[in-house]
Amino acid sequence: MKPAELGVPRAFDVHSHVLDNGLKVLLVENPSVPTVSLNASVLTGARHDPEAKAGLALMASRLLDEGTENRTSLEIAEAIESVGGAIESDGSFERIIVSAGVLNKDTDLGLELLAELLMRPIFPQEFVDKEKERTLAEIASAKDRPQVVAGWAFNELVYQDHPLHRPAHGYPDTVERITRADLLDFHRRYFVPNNVILSIVGDFQVPVLLPKIERAFAGWPNQAIAFPTYPKPVRQTNKREKYINMPAQQVNMYLGHLGVTRTNPDYYALQVLDTILGGGAGFTARIPQRLRDDLGLAYTTFASITMTAGLDPGRFISFIGTSPENMKLAIEGLVNEIRRIIEEPVTIEELRDAKDYLTGSFVFAFESSAQISRFLVHAEIYGLGFDYVQKYPDYIHAITVKDVSRAAKLYLDSENYTLVVVGPVAGNGNVSTQESAK
């Protein structure tokens, strides 16, 4: 790693290799701390789950460390925990990620376990049964959290038939339906080297590590993959509202609609827009400034369209948690700010401040080995290029007031939105009196 330059992330050399079997390997040496972060991303996730077996990808990811051809679940845990390391596997809509964090002296062990979890998991029936029970219990527990319930309902209304309408963990009845055969089939289909990106960042030397990686993954044959296809989601042209009654101190609300993909050409204009409307440092953006700082309506309120942008279009969301008697005021507040940024150009000052914020804070995304490792995967998946680190300030500086206005008009809608409210409200949106009485 090279010495730091002012105001921009430290430059790093990415060693990029493709093994004979198609496995993509990205390596960055970072000797500043005696640790190594290993990250394998399998390019599938809940977006590829069949509707009737929603939750399959996530369940498969969580079972990777529960037994392989060589080791039992407990042996895997013993191996990594005995050296103080950690190995985790988890899934999202787009990716299944197996990651390990170890001290530099344990790099070989981390690599060995990572390879084993990817290539040779056996999904023992006993653990499949346990994982199903556990997922069902976790769904039941998550239902206690109004913000989570609001998020689920919001996605159902926004995505309709598109796979992203579901929670990544599926529904109780689809989880029940998943079998060991489904998990083995899922693994056979998607866990192939040509569908995996391995990124390793930390205190190692590439010429020493690379041959070990080649050996660890040598026996893994590549194979063509047929990904399921589905129609693109369509942005709503009407207003959709849902009120879910839950006895609580606050109402939690999501208001928004379908968003954009990460590769959208207006992504950077929308980052600037997000910063002005609902992000930025502290409570500088319009929504937190107005609804929290001026009106005192909430502790948590924000808005963003780029935060959830991925391979599939994400969501434009604005969120607020507030006392029930403030519900109407809060909805009005959110809608007014969305309308204002669509109808009126942002000021030169707001634009300049947002750009300064985005370019100035970019450096914080590259502080740790784990962060750099995640960046490498994003750069690969979204075609950002490894010189993105240098190019990013230019992308942001190029944005004009007109770009922000055009993007606001094109991608935001202050009338045809989805609103979900969870809290002490009646089905018709009236606040329940016994809860709001003060």
Binding site: K239, Q249, D294, L297, T322, S361, A370
Partner: protein, 435 residues
């Protein structure tokens, strides 16, 4: 017996401690791997300093410090942070209140000016105070909508009868509602002064220059009268305390809290190792027993957090399916008894020590993480705690754990809280579509 590979002095190497004439403690450490500087200020005041009827004062004050001074008007602190591409935040605990800025290293000095100014010049305008009170109340309510927030609040209030650790950090709702701007300002004057603060700066800078800037910003602030000491001591608990919180959830939850010693106490190291042996990782005792074998919980966690005064050792679990909370509770006690009668194995002990050591190193990569560690430990105890930390952990024996378990994790010393359904049903929904 233990094979720790990295001494914990690794963490405090090159940390320079300077004390200004006005009593401000300054900790600096140069880290040049990223062009970033973290500047934090820690005040030795938290909910432990609050009197009955005045809870939440420390936390409310933390909010007010963002509402402006004569020099930095309302919104300015955030705006300066924003324009400089930085990040800022703050947090309050039982024992301290801390504020931080993260900036690129070519523009971070403004953090010093802000901290020096708001140490003494916080504005306390009535309108701003009342508006922020609403925000604090919303924050408090968010906590009341969380099952663990509710349960732990009651458990702590029952475990401590006298010591202020019994009060929620955010305060009791009525106290926050009744708070006045005059009281809040008096509280600020009492605790916010250089001789009650620690400034921590970690990152890409030159120490000599930074100490000059620090002196320039903070030296003009005179030392104040020493804040009053907090003298309350919790009497020994003489029997189990049990409580139930009735709530809308269908998922029963269990929280067990044992009185435990303060940071630096000989037994505190054994309790930290024990917490790891019990629930850290899939090979841990309670995970193997309750998640894997009995399948009675979705998770179980044991936790000892360092604190200035004698504190609590928490064990929490969330029930799964139809498993009874009584069965879950007795499994936990059974496992604790086994530890006393059979001791932990040498292998378990070794594994736990390695986990603590690796975590200590793996979690200190960012400048903010380092500043957090230095500030917290200096506030609670003194930096030398870090230097001997891994050595003390490494020296813990299975007998130490047995003794700590016998002394602290017994029936008469515990408070047991259960969160159970209040008889309410599922949520109801209604949707509409227009347009």
């Amino acid at each position: 017996m233990s094979s720790l590979v990295i001494p914990s002095a690794f963490a405090t190497e090159d940390v320079r401690r300077t004390v200004l004439d006005n009593g401000l403690v300054v900790l600096t450490r140069e880290v040049h791997t990223s062009p970033i500087v973290t500047a934090m200020i820690w005040y030795r005041v938290g909910s432990r300093n609050e009197e009955l009827g005045h809870t939440g004062k420390s936390h409310f004050l933390e909010h007010m410090l963002f509402k402006g001074t004569d020099r930095f008007k309302k919104g300015q602190i955030d705006l300066i942070t924003h324009r400089n591409g930085g990040g800022n935040n703050a947090f309050t605990s039982h024992d301290f209140t801390a504020y931080y800025f993260n900036f690129a290293s070519d523009r971070w000095d403004v953090a010093l000016e802000i901290e020096a100014d708001r140490m003494v010049n916080c504005a306390f305008e009535l309108d701003e105070f009342e508006a922020e009170k609403k925000v604090v109340i919303e924050e408090l309510k968010t906590g009341l909508d969380s099952p663990w927030g509710l349960l732990l609040q009651d458990v702590e209030a029952a475990a401590f009868k006298i010591h202020p650790y019994r009060n929620p950090i955010v305060g009791w709702l009525q106290d926050v509602e009744r708070a006045t701007v005059e009281q809040q300002q008096a509280y600020y004057r009492k605790y916010y002064q250089p001789n009650n603060a620690i400034l921590v700066i970690v990152g890409d800078f030159d120490t000599g220059q930074v100490l000059n800037s620090v002196a320039h910003a903070f030296r003009p602030i005179p030392a104040g009268p020493a804040p009053p000491p907090m003298l309350l001591r919790e009497p020994e608990q003489l029997g189990e305390r049990r409580l139930v919180v009735r709530w809308r959830s269908k998922v029963p939850r269990l929280a067990i809290a044992y009185h435990a010693p303060e940071i630096g106490h000989a037994a505190s190291y054994a309790l930290q190792v024990l917490a790891v042996i019990l629930t850290e990782g899939k090979a841990s005792r309670l995970y193997q027993r309750m998640v894997e074998q009995e399948q009675s919980v979705t998770f179980v966690s044991a936790e000892y957090g360092e604190a200035k005064d004698p504190t609590l050792f928490h064990i929490r679990a969330e029930a799964r399916g139809t498993h009874s909370i009584e069965g879950i509770e007795s499994s936990i006690y059974d496992e604790l008894e086994r530890i006393v009668s059979n001791n932990v194995t040498p292998h378990e002990l070794e594994r736990a020590k390695h986990q603590i050591e690796a975590h200590f190193i793996l979690s200190r990569e960012r400048t903010l993480d380092q500043a957090l560690l230095f500030g917290q430990i200096e506030t609670l105890y003194g930096l030398d705690y870090i230097d001997s930390y891994l050595q003390r952990i490494g020296a813990v024996t299975s007998e130490d754990i047995e003794h700590a378990c016998t002394r602290y994790l017994h029936e008469n010393n515990r408070t047991v809280g259960r969160l159970l359904n209040d008889g309410s049903g599922q949520e109801s929904e209604e949707e509409g579509e227009t347009g």
